[in-house]
């Protein structure tokens, strides 16, 4: 870590701040933090980014004079170069994706050419898609402002679930620009396209903002919604052009091309100015080195934020959950009591606050009355609160793009700012904070989608048939349409009349298909402590793990005891309790390889013989019981058996096969080797989520015996769900007792002969993770090794191979040894 000290020195050496400026105060705070960092392992990175000058360009000559005047009146006399380039590309009819950091004026990139086109031809229509309602509201304000300056020459409306029924008619007729979200497009607009004739006949532009949020399941759905949208647009004789905006990810062009299924031009220059910025990684000090336990990152976040506030720097604190938001808010408000007769200077901001209160907070931040705000990701995306002096993040936001977006909240276009990321002890956070180059180098984050996931695609094909009969020769993704349609006809959904397939079902298909997950099969959670009250909703697979009978379900910091799980009605009845334990589902998972699509063998020597593959698998899992675990001590204080239905899923997977010769070459006992493999799998899953930019829940893990030959029969396996990524630490057994892992010394350990380590897509049909993982095999192995090797714990901790208590001694060593052999 001495390196970071050197960096710190270098960073400061180059600065010559004037006294009293924000930078001086930022520096004072950093000095305080550095003084506390006795061992030099807390501030793991201090990076300085110098200010960047704006690069200007004139408004293109084709822009309508009135529009230029409107912008000039708003104070925009000139464009940044990237805005001019983007507007020019749109004007020439190209589909574009604009990649720029926060606060670089990206909305102008699409508003300028679109509004211009509406002024030239008032029939023009445009549809803006935002991933969240709040973002649409914010854009609406901007467009209203411009519209006023243009004598309200165009109609601009949001159309979402909150739009009153009597306003909808006017919006359909008069909205030149309609702001909505993919969900509303899917359930509210496309199935009623006949009411939107005006819009569809004249639809020239579709704007997709925050493109990078459409990855995984959501992105795969969106791609299909866009297929449907284009179908409808074509029916009304239009062929809209797409303008996308994305935060920085590794593959914006690829993502956009995949989503739009069209050629897309990537524009990633940035002409916006930026003030100088310091970015700090803060790893809370270790309090117990052997167990790898660090000081609470929530408390540390509060300390850091308080230091900034003390130096009169306007500060925004990001937390990853609502509960943490409230805790941090409490700490900071206690430290900064409300001045008598004045407003509270520290405020919270999250979903669940009323719109008026939010607007008031946004105003307070802009005019500086509010000195500090604690927020969830609600403030991460383009809501206008002006720019603050510093940002402190409690925990890694989960992706590099997201981290930069949050960090971008600090930093006026001129002046100085600072962003601090305080790491939690999760493997992801620890990896990032100890590998600053991974973060600050070129972003390795790729966004993947799999729109041709059969389950997703068929659902949207149903919606498409509902919207318009399917004509012969139509294309919809990469499937054989006539074949699938014939099968849907057999199932009673479609009917072939003439040469078109028509929808023949009473149901309204879009209503049963949610875009944010694959299955619409959700359980609702009903609190029956008092008058019945619905407190939440979880998807089917999670329900089995978290909501089985007698489980302790934690929601909003409150514990609930599950009284009854009504499987048929998809309801869980819970009661508030206050107990000192939590429950942990025990489930077993079997993975069976159906077909290996790609295989790559490495056998430089017998001791390193291994194979990695990807392909289709069948995953069977069942929750068979649960354990009651005491808080803090993690003692097992009771077991229970459960009889829940088996869950079967056909998906795609990436797996590593360890050959017999490799295992035998390891100088460890059988149980150490076994335990090492579980630890390794734990770490592999952590790193995979990092590379795939996905959530821990998106990847399932299992270990199983390699079948004698691929696709011949079921392999008898035992497996574990990726542990700390999910709160439910589940183990699975087949012919082993569940306690085996916790008691590695037991003698009846049966060893795997040639184990497969599976990382599978935790969605039926797969969501496209296995292929990139297969190709990134070397990177995955390399970074997993880095993660484990860099961890300071002795025998494993939640940040690397899993908590030491769950593993045999020397598991960490064994995992490292396997990795070394995998590296060849």
């Amino acid at each position: 870590m001495s390196q970071s000290l050197a960096m710190r020195a270098a960073a400061f050496g180059s600065l010559e701040p004037s006294a009293g400026s924000p930078l001086t105060r930022v520096r004072e705070v950093l000095d305080v933090l550095a003084d506390r960092d006795v061992y030099g392992d807390v501030l793991t990175a201090v990076r300085y980014f110098p200010a960047r000058e704006a690069q200007w360009a004139d408004f293109p000559a084709w822009v309508h004079g009135d529009l230029v005047a409107a912008y000039v009146a708003k104070g925009i006399r000139q464009l940044y170069t990237h805005q001019a380039i983007a507007a020019e590309a749109v004007q020439t009819g190209k589909n574009v994706v604009v990649v720029t950091p926060t606060a670089s004026g990206k909305t102008l990139c699409y508003n300028l050419p679109i509004l211009n086109s509406i002024l030239e031809n008032p029939d023009t229509r445009a549809l803006y898609l935002f991933p969240a309602k709040a973002l649409a509201q914010d854009q609406l304000a901007e467009l209203y402002n411009l519209n006023q300056r243009l004598d309200n020459r165009f109609g601009v409306f949001t159309y979402d679930g909150d739009t009153p029924a009597d306003a909808r008619r006017a919006i359909r007729e008069k909205g030149h620009v309609v702001l909505t979200n993919p969900d509303m497009l899917h359930t509210g607009i496309l199935p009623h396209h006949t009411r939107w004739t005006r819009l569809f006949e004249n639809l020239r532009y579709i704007v997709i903002d925050e493109l990078h949020t459409y990855r995984g399941v959501f992105g795969s759905h969106l791609c299909n919604v866009l297929r449907r949208l284009r179908r409808i647009a074509n029916f009304y004789g239009s062929d809209p052009q797409f303008i996308c905006c994305s935060a920085t990810i590794a593959n914006p062009g690829e993502l956009a091309t995949r989503l739009l299924e069209k050629e897309v031009k990537v524009l990633d220059a940035n002409g916006a100015p930026a003030g100088e910025k310091t970015f700090v990684f803060y790893n809370p000090p270790v309090v117990n080195r052997a167990l790898g336990i660090r000081r609470s990152y929530i408390n540390e976040t509060s300390r850091v934020a308080q230091e900034f506030l003390k130096h009169d720097l306007q500060t925004m604190v990001f937390a990853n959950s609502r509960l943490q938001t409230e805790i941090l808010l409490t700490y900071l408000q206690q430290a900064n009591p409300q001045p008598p007769g004045k407003q509270e200077t520290i405020r919270g901001y999250r979903g669940g606050y009323l719109p008026n209160e939010r607007r008031e907070i946004e105003r307070g931040l802009r005019d500086g009355r509010i000195r500090g705000v604690v927020s969830t990701s609600a403030l991460e995306l383009g809501i206008d609160v002006g720019s603050l002096d510093t940002v402190v993040m409690a925990g890694y936001p989960g992706s590099i793009a997201g981290t930069w977006q949050r960090a971008g909240r600090a930093g006026r276009r001129s002046g100085s700012s600072c962003a601090v990321m305080v790491a939690s002890s999760s493997p992801l956070d620890q990896f990032i904070v100890r590998h600053p180059d991974y973060f600050f180098g070129n972003t390795p984050e790729h966004a993947f989608i799999q729109p041709d996931n059969l389950e997703i695609l068929i659902n949207h094909l149903k919606c498409a048939a509902f919207e318009l009969p399917i004509a012969p020769g139509e294309r919809f993704g990469e499937i054989d349409i006539p074949d699938i349609c014939a099968r849907l006809a057999e199932a009673g959904y479609l009917h072939l009349a003439g040469d078109h397939f028509h929808w023949t079902h009473e149901a309204y298909p879009a209503d049963t298909i949610g875009l944010r997950s694959i299955t619409s099969d959700n359980f609702i959670i009903i609190d029956v402590s008092g008058a019945p009250n619905v407190i939440g909703e979880v998807d089917f697979p999670s329900a089995l793990i978290f909501l089985h009978e007698k489980a302790i379900y934690i929601h909003g910091g409150q514990q609930y005891h599950v009284e009854h799980l009504d499987f048929k009605e998809r309801k869980a009845y819970v009661k508030q309790v206050d107990v000192d334990y939590y429950t942990d589902a025990v489930r077993y998972t079997q993975v069976r390889v159906l077909e290996a699509t790609d295989t790559c063998s490495v056998s430089a020597s017998a001791a390193s013989a291994n194979t990695h593959s990807r392909g289709e698998v069948l995953v069977r899992s069942q929750v068979v019981g649960f354990k009651k675990i005491k808080f803090f001590t993690n003692e097992n204080i009771g077991d229970g058996k459960l009889e829940l239905p088996e869950n079967e899923m056909h998906t795609t997977s990436y797996w590593i096969t360890l050959e017999r010769s490799l295992l035998e070459s390891l100088p460890y006992s059988v149980s150490e080797r076994q335990s090492g493999m579980f630890g390794l799998l734990h770490a592999l899953a952590s790193v995979a989520t990092l590379l795939l930019m996905c959530d821990g829940r998106d990847i399932g893990t299992a270990i199983g015996e390699r079948p004698p030959a691929p696709d011949t029969g079921l392999s008898s396996v035992r497996a574990g769900q990726a542990p700390p990524l999910q709160d439910a630490r589940s183990e699975a057994t087949n012919d082993f007792s569940p306690s085996r892992l916790r008691d590695p010394s037991s003698s009846n350990v049966k060893e795997f002969f040639e184990p497969n380590l599976y990382l599978y897509d935790a969605y039926p049909g797969g969501i496209g993770f296995s292929e990139p993982l297969f190709h990134a095999h070397n990177l995955l192995i390399h970074q997993t090794r880095e993660l484990i090797a860099a961890c300071t714990c002795n025998e494993g901790c939640p940040s690397c191979v899993g908590p030491a208590g769950d593993l045999a001694p020397r598991s960490k060593e064994a995992a490292l040894a396997i990795l070394d052999r995998l590296r060849g």
Binding site: H193, H495, A497, E506
Partner: protein, 444 residues
């Protein structure tokens, strides 16, 4: 009101005496193997878009019911005066009327729901001529819509039961989706759902057409029954089964069901027409609840006079006990509205005595004594009584909405009490020192 009634009678006088004869459209006899067409007694209609089945029947019941000017005026009254004027003119000619009802592949609406059977009917030769268009498959939709558009163009006044929000928008969708047949323009659209709801919801609870037929229209007397009627909920599935080569018999049942819906619709118009046009003396034997419903309908359409008459009559006929306070309240409000405050107060006094439901009466009396009778002391008394009743009621209530409502009401009453007490104080102060204000004003 009377002026527009005149207008209607004038329009009626201008109307040709004979109804226009239906335009003959040749139907081809179905092929021998088309067993469904034979079962239905249908012919094959053909036009440039293709073919579909058409079924024509004339029924002597329901008999033609001459629309009364009063009924038309009331039924066409909406907030939008522009629409109303056009509607009135169009409605004046029953030869332009077209009853319409569809059977569809679902109730969800949207672009994936198809009306596969469209039934239309019009008055003819004193009875009802029905024509039904059936598509044997989705490929016959365009020819069906083309035919329908022609019929609607001939008779552009649509009469439906819930067709304003369901059948017609659905058909509008279908027309739009053809890209080639534009939606025919309607001169007027009369939907009987809302009037029927106002009139009979109180007595029947549900105003489904079947229910109305049985209990309002006395269907057996009209000459038809629904004993072997098909369940509406099963209609989409029957059609889907038929499309996939399933049984044809249910289709016959659906066609009959649709016929009866159309006859029911026409008869329903007759019933509403008679009821709206009836004078007080004609209403012997009408159910008291229906009269109360009638008064509510009049009241909603802004005809307080007729509402008052019907409401008093309902009470005279012996309205069931649970509806009496409501009717009396209505009567009091109607009296207040036409300026007969004393009559209203008399009713409120009776109602206030009723401990069950006297809060509103007390409030109204407080208003009456404060504003009209100028007796603040009595007004305050009633406001306090109202508040006391309210608090007693609140102690028993668990419904959160009711609680919120009563909180608002309590606030209003408190404000009134305070104001009245101030008034009373000021008055007694004036009495005690009558010259004070005079002195003050002089001092200035």
């Amino acid at each position: 009101m009377s002026a527009s009634a005149d207008k209607f009678s004038r329009l009626a006088a201008l109307r040709p005496v004979r109804l226009a004869p239906p335009r003959p459209v040749a139907l081809r006899a179905p092929d021998q193997e088309d067993s469904l067409a034979h079962l239905l007694g249908a012919g094959v209609a053909k036009n440039q878009f293709g073919e579909h089945l058409a079924i024509r029947n004339w029924f002597s019941t329901p008999e033609f019911s001459e629309p009364s000017a009063v009924a038309l005026e009331l039924l066409s009254r909406t907030r939008d005066t522009e629409i109303t004027r056009r509607t009135r003119v169009a409605l004046g000619d029953p030869a332009k009327w077209l009853f319409l009802d569809t059977e569809t592949t679902g109730l969800a609406g949207g672009t994936g729901t198809y009306p596969f059977l469209v039934g239309i009917a019009w008055w003819d030769a004193g009875g009802l001529q029905i024509e039904q268009f059936f598509m044997r498959d989705f490929s016959e939709e365009h020819s069906l819509l083309h035919e329908l558009a022609a019929r609607v163009a001939e008779r552009p006044v649509l009469v439906t039961f819930n067709g304003k929000s369901f059948d017609w928008p659905l058909l509008d969708n279908r027309f739009t989706m053809t890209h080639s047949i534009s939606t025919p323009r309607l001169a007027a659209h009369l939907d009987l759902l809302h009037p029927a709801r106002a009139l009979w919801k109180l007595r029947l609870g549900s105003v489904r057409l079947v229910e109305l037929e049985r209990r309002v229209l006395d269907a057996p007397r009209l000459g038809w029954h629904r004993e072997d009627d098909i369940a509406s909920a099963l209609i989409p599935q029957h059609y889907f089964d038929y499309l996939r080569g399933g049984p044809r018999d249910p289709i016959v049942g659906i066609v009959r069901h649709n016929q009866m819906d159309l006859r029911g619709l026409a008869a329903l118009f007759g019933k509403i027409n008679t009821l709206l046009a009836s004078q007080e003396a004609d209403r012997e034997g009408v159910d008291s609840l229906d009269l109360f419903g009638l008064s509510r309908f009049f009241e909603r359409r802004g005809d307080s006079d007729r509402a008052h008459v019907a409401c008093s009559q309902a009470l005279d006929f012996g309205l069931p006990a649970e509806f009496r306070p409501r009717a009396r309240r209505e009567l009091a409000m109607l009296a207040k509205r036409r300026g007969d405050h004393a009559a209203a107060a008399a009713i409120w006094l009776e109602l206030a005595a009723d401990s069950q439901d006297g809060v509103l009466a007390c409030e109204q009396l407080a208003i009456y004594y404060e504003r009209r009778a100028k007796e603040p002391a009595r007004a305050a008394e009633f406001a306090r009584l109202g508040l006391a009743k309210l608090q007693r009621m609140r102690a028993h209530s668990r419904d959160p909405f009711a609680a919120a409502r009563s909180t608002r009401l309590a606030e209003k009453l408190l404000i009134r009490i305070n104001r009245l007490e101030d008034k009373l104080k000021a008055r007694s102060a004036n009495r005690a020192a009558p010259n004070l204000s005079v002195l003050k004003s002089r001092a200035k």
